[in-house]
Structure formats: structure tokens, C-alpha cells
Symmetry: C2
Subunit: 490 residues, 2 copies
């Protein structure tokens, strides 16, 4: 018999021998009751110390895979698993998972939508362009941190977050006009965790929550998973329909509202200051707390600065602001924050601790060190210019080449198109054949999440989102022209 062992220097030798012998036994390369080489023989055969061989044999014997006969040697045992092959213990997990897990799978668009393949022009992603990342600055920050407080940063931290980052973000929020008196901040793993935590802190299963319709698909998924009753308020080319908002509030016992005032996803619209004020007033009159997604606010040009709802609320404690730089800086670090009433953040802190103890301290320290260096403003200036150029090209070409009812977007990372009587999914499948992929708009509508994407939803059937953040100008042009061309074939 040939023993074909592959022994490396990294793992413990005896464990390697053990697991390789085990494999041979399971795979029947070593037959039941066959004799193993003596430890001395095997040792010289494969050039591993006899001690290691002995340890491996001991382990195999302990596990009932071999047996030894005194003065004769070690033998392969007949596998119990073989005897009861039919009664090996297999749980049919595909049906045994909870309803919750099943909804998570059904609403997971990464699993259920067309997938990007190498070489495609992808308008799907709205992640930042990593070529803009200031890698050298990050290296400096990491070395700083590890040299100055490596031991501390690499050990357990606090559920609320890394002190220095929290304080930095508090004054950052003040600089956006937010009154932070009696408020505090909890650091989260991005917007996604922030939103999930917020909902579980203030809403019970079955509660009604308002949101723009269409809206952020991840937000829809999280609301659905928490069993909330989602009340969508239509978005027009001009943003949220305020009359409909009032009507829906009148007709429903709404417990909270979720809004994305800046670069609303997917429509790309920035809500005007007047509309923000009006929205806030209506919510206040009806005593319905607001969850504000501060997402991408940083992309606003200086001249465009519009206060977040959290600033309009002054020292009220009714707006819960969720911030994230993930579409701007390093989403791989997974950092977001919730700004809200102190007592509320206190409760959230305990939930956070029960969920994952705290967000990576190293990530938090890196972000803090990078932000405080004052290079962020410079970086923002650069990316605003780059993304603005992409936006201007994308919207100009889309208006020219794609037959539309309207196209929305105020800058940012994507535009939203309502096609002229064209089925976006049919268009998508044609475009994929031509190497272009985008996100069909239906998945952003509440009606789609209500039906768990199970039927092709009627609402939004003629809409799509084009994300251009990671594309070159050349690919934006090529891609939009291909989409336009395919429209003509439908």
C-alpha cells in the first residue's frame, strides 16, 4: 500500500497525519481490519518523528477509528457510520430554517437578481470608486494607531464606540447645524446595522412605518424582516408627494417615518429646504418620530448645503439620524453612526452589545485618525468633481438616448429613469446579452417587498436605476448608448 501523505511545516504534524489517515479510512483507501504500518515504519517512511505518528494513532483510537492489539499493532476499525449508513444524521436544513431566515433569503436581491460578470459595464453598483481612495493616508493612520495604542485598540472596546470617533462625529453633526444637546451617538456597522437597531428599539412587529416609495432596497428588506407594515408614499419627479403623505397619516396609525432627504435612493433627488421643513412640520403635528438616512449628504456641493431634518428639529428629540460614509469612504470598514436622544441611544447601546459587542475598534480608530487629519475635505472636493462629471454625462446621455417619461437625479452616484412604456426587466435581459447590466426599478417599491419579489411586481415595471460611480466616462457613454439602442428593439 502506498501512503501518499502531504505534510507541510505550518500545521502540527500529528494533526496532519491524523486527518489524512482519517480521510483514508473514510474513503475506504484503508479497508476495515487492515493493519496500519507500525509507528516506527511510518515514521521512517514519511520522515516525521515517531512521536507525531504515535500521537496521531492515539487520536484515531480515541475516536474509535482504529484499534490496537497488544504486541501486534494497530488496525482499521469497521466504521459505525458504515454499519448505520442509512441512519447517519442528516437534517434537511433547507426546510428546517425559520420563516425569518426564509424571508431573508427571498428578499436577498444579491441572490435573486442578475449577476455582474467580468467584462460587463455595470450600472448596478453604487459603491464608491475605490481608485479614489487615499490608501497612503490610511496606511499612515493605521501605523499611527498601532504604534500609539495598538494594545488597547486590539482588545475589547465599548459597545457605544471609540470615544474619540464619537466626539469627532458629535462636532461634525454640530457643523451640519444639528443641536446635539441631550443627544448622543452610537457607532454601528454601517447604515444597515444602524437602521436595524433603530427599528428594533422603537417599533414592534405589525407597527406601521411610512417611507418614500420607491426607497432604498436594503431598508425595505430590514423593515420586512422586522415584520413591520410598510406604508409607501409616492415619489414624483419632484420628490415625495406631500399631499399623499398627509392622507396616509390620516388613514393609518403610523408609528414612525423613514426618509432619505439627500440623494434619495433610487431617485437621486435632494429634498428642498422648504419641503424638509414642511415634512418635519407634518410629522411633528402628528407626533410621529422621524428616522433620517443621512446617506451621501457629504456629496452636496458647498453652495447646495441643505440642513438635515435633524438640524430642523433643533432641540426636539424626535429625529433619529443615521449617518454613514460608506458610499464615500471605505465601505469595507463598515462604520456608521446613530445620533439621537441620550436615553434612546442608551437603550440601543444594550442591543448593540447583545448583537456583536461593538464595532471593530481598529476600523473606528482608522476612520477617526483619517478624518481628524483634515484631509477629508480635500478628498470630498476631489470626489465631488469626479462624480459630478460622471453625473452630468450620464444624465445628458440618458436624456438623449433612452426613451423616458422622466429622469431624476440631482448629482450623487446614480440616476433613476421612468421609461416610455418599456418593460425594464425585458430591457435588462436584452442589455445583459450586450454586456450591460443595471438595476430594474421594481425592487425599490414597497409592493415588491410585500409580495417577497415572488411575482414580477407591476409597480415600477418601467423604471430602472443607473449607478455610475465606478464607471469610466467612456463606459458610461458606451453603456447608456447600448441601453438606448436596446430600447428601440422593444
Amino acid at each position: 500500500m502506498v501512503f501518499d501523505f502531504k505534510i507541510n511545516d505550518k500545521e502540527k504534524k500529528y494533526l496532519q497525519i491524523y486527518s489524512q489517515l482519517k480521510n483514508m479510512i473514510y474513503s475506504k483507501m484503508l479497508a476495515p481490519d487492515s493493519k496500519l504500518p507500525s509507528t516506527r515504519e511510518l515514521s521512517s517512511l514519511i520522515c516525521v518523528s515517531r512521536n507525531s505518528i504515535m500521537s496521531a494513532y492515539e487520536l484515531l483510537e480515541q475516536e474509535g477509528l482504529i484499534y490496537s492489539i497488544r504486541n501486534k499493532g494497530s488496525y482499521v476499525k469497521k466504521l459505525v457510520a458504515d454499519e448505520n449508513k442509512e441512519c447517519s444524521w442528516i437534517i434537511p436544513w433547507e426546510i428546517k430554517t425559520t420563516a425569518y431566515a426564509k424571508i431573508a433569503e427571498k428578499t436577498d436581491i444579491i441572490k435573486n437578481e442578475s449577476v455582474y460578470k467580468k467584462g460587463m459595464i455595470s450600472f448596478k453598483t453604487i459603491a464608491p470608486d475605490e481608485n479614489l481612495f487615499p490608501i497612503e493616508e490610511v496606511k499612515k493612520s493605521v501605523l499611527n494607531i498601532l504604534s500609539n495604542e495598538g494594545e488597547k485598540i486590539l482588545n475589547y472596546g465599548y459597545a457605544k464606540g471609540y470615544d474619540k470617533l464619537i466626539n469627532f462625529l458629535l462636532s461634525y453633526m454640530t457643523s451640519k447645524g444639528v443641536d446635539t444637546t441631550n443627544k448622543s451617538i452610537l457607532i454601528t456597522n454601517g447604515f444597515t446595522e444602524g437602521f436595524d437597531l433603530t427599528l428594533s428599539t422603537i417599533l414592534n412587529k405589525g407597527d406601521k412605518i411610512l417611507c418614500e416609495n420607491p426607497t432604498h432596497n436594503t431598508a425595505l428588506k430590514i423593515m420586512k424582516l422586522q415584520g413591520l407594515d410598510i406604508i409607501g408614499v409616492d415619489m414624483t419627479a419632484d420628490g415625495i408627494d406631500i399631499t399623499q403623505l398627509s392622507d396616509k397619516i390620516k388613514n393609518n396609525k403610523v408609528k414612525a417615518g423613514f426618509f432619505v432627504p439627500s440623494y434619495h435612493n433610487p431617485t437621486g433627488l435632494v429634498m428642498s429646504y422648504d419641503k424638509r421643513n414642511l415634512l418635519y412640520t407634518i410629522m411633528k403635528e402628528n407626533n410621529i418620530p422621524i428616522i433620517e438616512d443621512g446617506f451621501n449628504e457629504e456629496l452636496q456641493l458647498k453652495s447646495d448645503h441643505i440642513s438635515p431634518l435633524a438640524a430642523i428639529s433643533n432641540n426636539d428629540n424626535s429625529v433619529i439620524y443615521i449617518g454613514s460614509l460608506s458610499k464615500i469612504l471605505f465601505p469595507g470598514l463598515r462604520i456608521g453612526w446613530i445620533l439621537g436622544d441620550k436615553k434612546l441611544i442608551n437603550a440601543m447601546e444594550s442591543i448593540k452589545r447583545s448583537k456583536n459587542i461593538h464595532t471593530s475598534s481598529l476600523d473606528q480608530a482608522i476612520l477617526y485618525d483619517y478624518l481628524k487629519n483634515g484631509n477629508f475635505e480635500k478628498y470630498l472636493k476631489k470626489i465631488r468633481t469626479v462624480y459630478n462629471e460622471k453625473f452630468n454625462l450620464a444624465i445628458k446621455l440618458a436624456k438623449e438616448y433612452i426613451p423616458h417619461q422622466y429622469i431624476t437625479g440631482d448629482g450623487g452616484l446614480y440616476i433613476f429613469i421612468k421609461l416610455k412604456n418599456i418593460d425594464a426587466r425585458k430591457l435588462l435581459s436584452k442589455c445583459i446579452d450586450k454586456g450591460v447590466i443595471f438595476t430594474p426599478g421594481d425592487i425599490f417599491y414597497t409592493q415588491s417587498i410585500d409580495t417577497l419579489h415572488s411575482t414580477s411586481s407591476l409597480v415600477g415595471w418601467d423604471t430602472l436605476r443607473l449607478g455610475f460611480s465606478r464607471l469610466t466616462l467612456c463606459d458610461i457613454e458606451k453603456g447608456v448608448k447600448i441601453i438606448g439602442h436596446e430600447c428601440l428593439t422593444l
Copy 2:
């Protein structure tokens, strides 16, 4: 009037002026209807460009904080908030949070237990000793990663985790004797998230789950938060009571079992191979899947190697193994993993994506780069020696000085003491006065979580856990002697 502006170079000037003026208005430093200096005046007064002053004034006007009269200037508006001071919008969050949030706060021992104060000898923590961390190696790993794939690592990654780390951990698990055929791995934010994800994937509210009693307090908290019915099986000085386990299974419709076979928390016991086998057989006969906490397995000395339950299960798919190195290496990085049936991990992947998209890619890459360098074995050897020395001293002194019924621990990072008719909480309050703190054992019992720690639970009243991982030998000696001395006063 004196304008005391503090202008720095880091934030936008106009926003600084805006927010400082806003503060003056709110704080009544600027009275309603008083005239603001002209933009030209203020510009020369505080040496900031007139443009910035104008932008700040515009913003204030937009927000309704000031008004302008043509050809006269800008004036402070009477605050609406002042007019309706009594109807400013304050939500009483302390009563408005969900039952879920309230349980999270009540079961949050960090908030409800005595707190470590600087200078104390703390037996509370079981975190690793950060002085042992290989900081220089981490620096090398980070620079490697950022140089070779910084752009990729800092952008969005995959919910399942960083490929290279997953593959590394798969062979790591193989080296522990685990058959990984048809299994896969999901990377999580530590054990805590892994356990939470696992429960929400396979158990519904009200389902019964078995566990050792006492057990890991975080695990108890998570089970409680998920609304599970927790069935504790007593731990004796010899480990889990197998007869009671069988009885409880007979009398309850148990849906899953959670076990900590190595360095069980809080008792410090390592389950023998025979007991593991027996436990596995009983669970198999009753078709109850096992959640195994692989926690601290790495601290086993070479000669002690005992297979995890996941290895005993061979190619069955009934053990869900949750691994973490957080008590050994870098808990600040928040990395853990779940090894289980492929279909099950698939479902968990979708839940993970809905919770926080993915675990920090940088953290994952650092851990991978560090582990693959082969320095981990060397590090383990070092820490095993250090912790073993601490363990030997702690258990020897505890047996000598603390009046006990029994003391358990097989190495690891802590020992567990059943006192001789002494109330551990009374003892704790005496010890705190003497500058020594430890964890009273009652919080590890299912009875305590059942009552939300609201009454001083009877079970475990005479027990305590001493964590020694971060203490010097000298402080261990001093601390144990103080505890022993205080016992005599009770």
C-alpha cells in the same frame, strides 16, 4: 456687543459661523429683533471672507432664524420654539422603547453590575492580556494588505466573508478533525453575532433550547432576547449532568442544544472525550441539533487535544460550530465564524447581509494574513505558558485561601468557585471596598435570566468566577488573599 467666534482651519468657515451664531440666538446672547452686524463688518471683525459670512447668513435665514430687511440688514427672528416652548416636541423615549429594548437593557450586565475602577485588582474580565499581542506582526500584515489589495479591501466585500480567510479556516477546522464535506463557513462579528444569527436561523420564539447551567452570560442574554425557552442542565464539579440531560430531553420538546465543551464558561471545565461522545449520541438519538461554542479550544495543550463535537459528528450535518479567537487574539477586531451545513450557511448569509452587509474586510484580511504567516502557533505556545502559570497559581491559592465546596477549572482564563455557605454578592461588596472585584456566579444561571436579574436569584448565590487572564501573578496572589480574608469576616 462682542462676538467671540472660535474659527478653526479644519471645518468650513461658513458652517462654523453659522453654527456659532445659531448657538448665540438659541442661548439668547442675541436677542429677538436685534440687528446683526453687516456681512462686511463681521468679515473684517473676525477676519473671515465676506463670502463665508454671507453663506452663513443665508443658511440662518433659510432656517428661519434671522430675517433681512432690504437696505437695512439682517435681524434675529423671534424663535418659534420660544413661542411654543411648552409644545416643543419631546418624546419620552425611556418609556417609548420596545419590550425587546427593555430586556436588552435589563440583561445588560455591563450596566447593572459593579464596575471596575482604576487601581482595582479585577478578576471580572476574561479578555486576553493585550501585552501579549504581536503588534509588530499586525503592522506588517496591515501594510501587506493595504499595499497589495488596499482598494479592494476598503470597498464593499461579500456577506459570507473574505475568501482567503474562509478557506484558511476550512482547513483549520479540518486540522481539528472536522469533516468539512458539504459544509461551509460564514464570517461573523465574533461569537456573539454568530450565536445570534444561528438562533434566528433555526429557532422560533418560544422554542425550547438546552444549555449547560450555569453557562456563558452573553449566550443566556441572546437566547432570552430571542424569546426562547431556556432549559438548563446542571453542571457538577465533574461537568454536565448527563442523566439530567436525558431527563430534560424526555420531558421537553427540545429544538436545539447549546454547549461549550472546552473551557466551559464560567466553570472552566473541559469536557472529556467520552462525555462528548455520549452527549453527541444522546442528541443524535433525539434528533436535536447541536450548537457548539468552540471558544478557547486553542488553549488546549497539545497533549490535551480533544476533538470538538463537530469532529465527532463526522459527515453528519447536525452540529453548528461557532468559532472565535476573541479570547486569544485581537477581540477588538471582532471576528468569528460559523461552520455548518452548506444550505444552512446559505440562509445565514442572507440574514448576515440584512444585518450589516458583511464583517469588516480589513479585520478579516489582517487576521488571515497574520494566521497564514505561521506565527500563530508560536504565539499560542507563548500564551499557553503564560496563562497556565496564572491558572496554576490562581487555583492553588484559591484552594488554600478561599473556603469552598469545590473549585473548577482545567486551565484557560478563569476558575469557578462554589463557596462554603458564603453569599458571593455580600463577599463582592466587601471585596470592592478592599479594591478587588470579581463576577458573582448567579448571573450565569438560567434562573437569573428568567427573572431578568430582577430579584437576587437564589441559584448560584454562593458561586463566583475569577478571571485571571489580564492580572499579574503578583496581583493574583494579592487579590485571592484579600477575597479569602473577606470570606472570614462573613
